[in-house]
Assembly symmetry: C3
Homo-oligomer: 496 residues x 3
Amino acid sequence: MSKSASPLNLDPDRFFPVEPRTRETARRLYRSVAELPIISPHGHTDPAWFATNQAFANASSLLLTPDHYVLRMLYSHGVPLETMGVPTIDGDTAAVNPRESWRIFANHYHLFRGTPSRVWLDHVFAEVFGINVRLEPGVADYYFDTISAALSAPEFRPRALLDRFNVVLLATTEGALDALTHHDTLKMAGLGDRIITTFRPDDVLDPDREDFTRNIAELGALTGENTTHFGAYLRALRARRAYFRARGATATDHGHPSPRTADLSTIECQRLFDRCLASLADEHERELFRAQMLTEMAAMSLDDGMVMQIHPGSFRNHNKPLYARFGRDKGADIPLPTSYVSGLKPLLDRFGNEPSLRIILFTLDESTYARELAPLAGHYPCLRLGPPWWFHDSPEGMLRYRRAITETAGFYNGSGFNDDTRALLSIPARHDLARRMDSRFLAELVSEGRLAVDEAEELIVELTVTQVVEAYRLSIPTVPELAAETIRKASGTDRD
Amino acid sequence: MSKSASPLNLDPDRFFPVEPRTRETARRLYRSVAELPIISPHGHTDPAWFATNQAFANASSLLLTPDHYVLRMLYSHGVPLETMGVPTIDGDTAAVNPRESWRIFANHYHLFRGTPSRVWLDHVFAEVFGINVRLEPGVADYYFDTISAALSAPEFRPRALLDRFNVVLLATTEGALDALTHHDTLKMAGLGDRIITTFRPDDVLDPDREDFTRNIAELGALTGENTTHFGAYLRALRARRAYFRARGATATDHGHPSPRTADLSTIECQRLFDRCLASLADEHERELFRAQMLTEMAAMSLDDGMVMQIHPGSFRNHNKPLYARFGRDKGADIPLPTSYVSGLKPLLDRFGNEPSLRIILFTLDESTYARELAPLAGHYPCLRLGPPWWFHDSPEGMLRYRRAITETAGFYNGSGFNDDTRALLSIPARHDLARRMDSRFLAELVSEGRLAVDEAEELIVELTVTQVVEAYRLSIPTVPELAAETIRKASGTDRD
Amino acid sequence: MSKSASPLNLDPDRFFPVEPRTRETARRLYRSVAELPIISPHGHTDPAWFATNQAFANASSLLLTPDHYVLRMLYSHGVPLETMGVPTIDGDTAAVNPRESWRIFANHYHLFRGTPSRVWLDHVFAEVFGINVRLEPGVADYYFDTISAALSAPEFRPRALLDRFNVVLLATTEGALDALTHHDTLKMAGLGDRIITTFRPDDVLDPDREDFTRNIAELGALTGENTTHFGAYLRALRARRAYFRARGATATDHGHPSPRTADLSTIECQRLFDRCLASLADEHERELFRAQMLTEMAAMSLDDGMVMQIHPGSFRNHNKPLYARFGRDKGADIPLPTSYVSGLKPLLDRFGNEPSLRIILFTLDESTYARELAPLAGHYPCLRLGPPWWFHDSPEGMLRYRRAITETAGFYNGSGFNDDTRALLSIPARHDLARRMDSRFLAELVSEGRLAVDEAEELIVELTVTQVVEAYRLSIPTVPELAAETIRKASGTDRD
């Protein structure tokens, strides 16, 4: 490489509006919350990391192999997944050299220009590893060595990172059959209030899964219920929910293809369940079963108080040959048009007015923001909106979300930010981005005379911490006082 | 309340762009139209107010109880509708204390931050009632007393407010069976040209309505037609249209669930009508009947010159238990995906090229702006686009509308602004917002070299008054000269 | 006309952001590419123009009669197509006076305010014809005379215009049955590398076309195949592709109503083909046949390396009476909701992972940008995204595209700009607009700290030329060096 390395500088004003007065307001709002603790009520980090607290192996296996955003973009430009260390479904791992993977990544890093992956990764490189040159082919080895060396140090162990990142609560997500042994370990280590689980029962609710029948049998074994009977199946689910609650869970999560719900008679439920278990159900019946089970989950949430998250609308594993070779979560999930208004009606007709029910809705179909989600959440007491999700967890995505949602749902039918990530190191980057974009949005409202500055000061704190705690029914004793203190300080700055 | 009351100041530059040069252009454009009279060609104020000219009772019954935007947001945060004075469908009115309603509203006023309701209400508080502290719990009683006291004064009587607001034309909306006695009263009082009606025949066109069969019988009684016969039913509708035209109506309005149209044979029409009247029609047939009736309405518009408004795509009364208890229009209507291209085709195939037909299309599905509505309106001579409607009648909604529509439909296939409100006091606020947002949009085009400043000066006047008068075929003799004079003055200011 | 003519000045900073620092960056990025040659890999200019190199007749027949954007807007305001010189389908040309057409156009020129037509036309008037007064009724004759006089000069002959516009490659688009004689002429004139054709086989793939059966017979005659047999039909198509490739074609183009694909057995294909040829196929079968043929085209592209363009989602000839009178392409095509995720799956299941396949997707349904197209293109190696198309080839359309696409697909799954026009004179205007809007978008990223300035300097060159050459597999030997040189110069400017 003939040219010298480019600098990597994170602009301290990044993502703020360019107009000077508005930028100054955004900067001030951001500063008031930049150091607030991170609350991560929904995500996919591995509880084993924190339970075992082992060092991470190297830059590639930590930052590339498990990151579906990275894999998909590289794959779109012809990089085989094997070269990123992704094992095939048969367990074959190509003789992969992690350093070589990193070099290939460096050669393709320009592909990420303008994407949130670039934002998150640059933040990780600069802030977590202290690197000050941009990732380019000529510095691939320097990056690989710097990162891999750092990872072996005690301050890069998973628990140390949580401390460093000031993460006061982190929710992982586990399937209904998970024994949650890591969470038991964490509880014994005094981390049970800090790292909690989330009940994600897709494995026992979704008859499209190839392991559905086996899972239902295992559910029966785990709970001592005869799960061929629909009533016993429901009891078994209640038992698992209780098991998860005992490991800190305050929420369930549902990744159905659609937000469709149903409200069938018990006899119909049993008939449908029989057909699903016998693998006789057609596509329509399987969809109907999932629909019914969302309503059943709402019924259980009403009883046990768990917050219900619905993450619908992804066509999972769209690339058939790739799925056959590598399995799930390799960057080949594609959003679908999603219909909430009719889909949710059976559930809402039954439970929509229950004051103690809490459902958080997510979407990959932004056309529903202003048309369906904001109107629904701005009316039904049980509904809250999740933050922009997945492809939309990005600067433009966040602006579109706030601009499309706020006028109809207000700020108070949201649920703050969540990072939804398995990329541990990127958690601060993601929360920082959200805080910056919220500061920006609020600053724009202030500059345009649409919000008083003291209201913006209050809102930035509420969006950052208060709303998350409230929406997910978390108990983090320090947060309310910290929030109040932050608002007091902001107003002081403003008025003195 | 320990802290002192927050000030309520309407920023004179609110909603304008923040960049100084563009803001100055927006300001200048806005100033040229800020004082132009209000023309309100579509809305839902109660003609009884103006006919009887009685004082309004109190702050809550005027500003809260009838406002579905307010009700929905409060309800989404657990406020029961009863506490806002909403009577149940059985006529039960809880022993409601209006002052208590207002206090609850004040306690929840933060929910409206960032919403157009907040914009409109603050405008009403500041400009109509002269209040200069922000609505917060501590000033609830001060607000209630100030507003209620003002309402008893003669200058707050409905007709006085029309004068004060400089409303030169106001269209109300009445069902096909309405006797329009208030409009007769207004005519006798010399206000017949100023307050006109609009023909909204959903009650006799929509077989989904529980009172459909009864309404058709009443239509027959009113017109002396045997309305079990489709031909006579059409004649009866024509008679009612003539009746409405005699009370000033220049437009009809149609709130169908979809913009679907049809063009059936007379025999099919009679068969379908029979089934609807006998309550035998299934969902598909009822939709087909409504579809046919839109085409019939277009045929009649061609004859009598009435402008046809289509307001489709709302799933009315989505909250079943709430509807059962409180009835319609309580904030539980949710938009649906709406399809215009195929839906309107039968009507357009028959009448789309008629130069004298005028149809104004509205939508709650913004994804149709650039995809369907602008292309349709930018081709068919009979089509005009209505302004952003309902949830989209908001700052961001207006920007999205102009940005998505203008490049394909131009400015001249629109129809100006209409407020579509039953909230009389908010009419100036809504028109002011529209004028500001249009000024802003035009100023941005000017700053980016996309429009000459003299063209912007012309357009802001056309969008504010000329286009409304033209689109709705209104006759307001003073407007053309006023518009011309305003443009002359603006150019003068600019060039001298 | 009492008032004096308004000036026509193209703002040198038009379309740039208004904030001064960002504007300066945009200006600098734009200047680095403003003079780069035009590469036009997809469009609809008439090869006869360049083959015969005759002078254009007059302003109206060149600029109005063939421009469907102009026709549709005028028609929407009641201007009959006859008055614009459009012949009826029977070949009747009303006794049209081109000067009179131009006067009518001038009277309606305000309709185009805020539209891209206005941008393109003003650019043509000012830059191509040197006119410095705005088109208004009072200068209609001056315009008509100036333009018509210029057109008779040698420097306004088609080939001279290509030189003047610095068009180094121009692709026309021809039906599968076209003899391509003009391209043969051009080849002999040494222009074969500069003006190439594109294979657009809708005429022999789409059974909805009234001439489908006749076309298939003609295809057989041209290729010596018995095209009633599906296998021979495919062979005939391969032969025509080879014929087009020999005339420079590097791409095919497909204007299907939907992007639906299929993967049927040979027996099913033959059965479907039989029914289509016999005009027995119903709507569903005709759609299925087109779906299958997209997959067949992909199979052929895999063999012959032609880039496959899919332009789906237009409801062609929506205005039935107008179509009956004037035929296709008169401004009455309306976009439809378009579904890529399920539609493309059969094709992608079969060929989606082929490294040598290249498919460029376009859309008229912007709701698919972030939801479907960016996720698909950001994963599948065979997919690239075309630039904003048709109604969306506009300033706001381009911004929406970049903002919705980039975060998920990056910059490198695009294919640069193409003008897709039959309006020869507007080609520089359209490319200039695209360069300005890309400069603007990149400048905004730079100002917000989302992209380094040297990356923006590289990207603007890549978007302008490199990406087009790569996406369309063009061979223009001078471009790579020109691109590299431009980037070098930009960095120099920046760093010295």
